[in-house]
């Protein structure tokens, strides 16, 4: 029996060497970074992602939003209800196909886009890397995500 300090087992990988943990903890760190900024807009981070998606293209249904964000209706429906309750969006059935629910920005929801520009600037500043370096990392991460999806 070798007596190592604090019972360390060197045959077992630490979480710190696992790529999945890097992504897990980095994603959480970003959520934390966004939180104080988004608090001012009354949004959570996933709600912000939905708003960004709608600012880009208004009038999408739940399925389309889900394809973009990799989320399904069991996550989106309650989230969208909260945005609705906050007066940022409306949810109406598509008359052409009553199965679909079309999400549309309200005036208030549209107006919030102005403040979002500040948020993005703050994030860029916090990351503090040039656009090329960021895009290179992003491309690598996307490659892995698409491989395991």
């Amino acid at each position: 029996m070798t007596d190592t300090p604090s019972d360390t087992d060197n045959a077992v990988p630490d979480v710190s060497v696992m790529l999945c943990f890097s992504l897990y903890s980095a994603a959480h760190a970003f959520t934390q970074l966004y939180r104080p900024l988004l608090d001012k807009l009354g949004l959570t981070y996933p709600q912000y992602l939905v708003m960004v998606t709608l600012w880009k293209r208004d009038g999408q249904n739940v399925k389309e939003l889900g394809r973009t964000l990799f989320l399904d209706s069991s996550t989106l429906t309650p989230l969208l209800k909260r945005l609705d309750a906050g007066g940022l969006i409306t949810r109406t059935r598509n008359p052409k196909d009553e199965r679909e629910v079309i999400i549309r920005l309200t005036e208030k929801g549209h107006a919030l886009k102005t403040h979002a520009a500040d948020v993005m600037r703050c994030i860029e500043e916090a990351v503090g890397m040039d656009a090329e370096a960021i895009q290179a990392i992003k491309a690598s991460v996307d490659t892995i995500r698409d491989k395991i999806k």
Copy 2:
């Protein structure tokens, strides 16, 4: 008014160009990849991270686990209670400092380590990249996480 297809606003960034979204979606993709493998062990992904940490070094308190995993007691306490209920760990106050709760693997918790090796092999195979490429990406992601922490 330019009439673009589907009301697309090109002045707004899509989530697909945001690094934070890449990390967010890649982290979720990993959780999905792990799920069927961990289901066989009766673990969730965060529970697995705790077990990996304990397999590496047994007998840590909640604070230490939290520092490693970037989680606090409000997340860890309920999670550890579930591992306790599942017979994988024990939770006992430190007699030297009654504020601390020491987490120790049970026989059953220790035994699970054997199966974990299979899990890791499956994950590596699914990612399908050489160790060097993975470590390069991991290093970049860690750099960003540490910058924004």
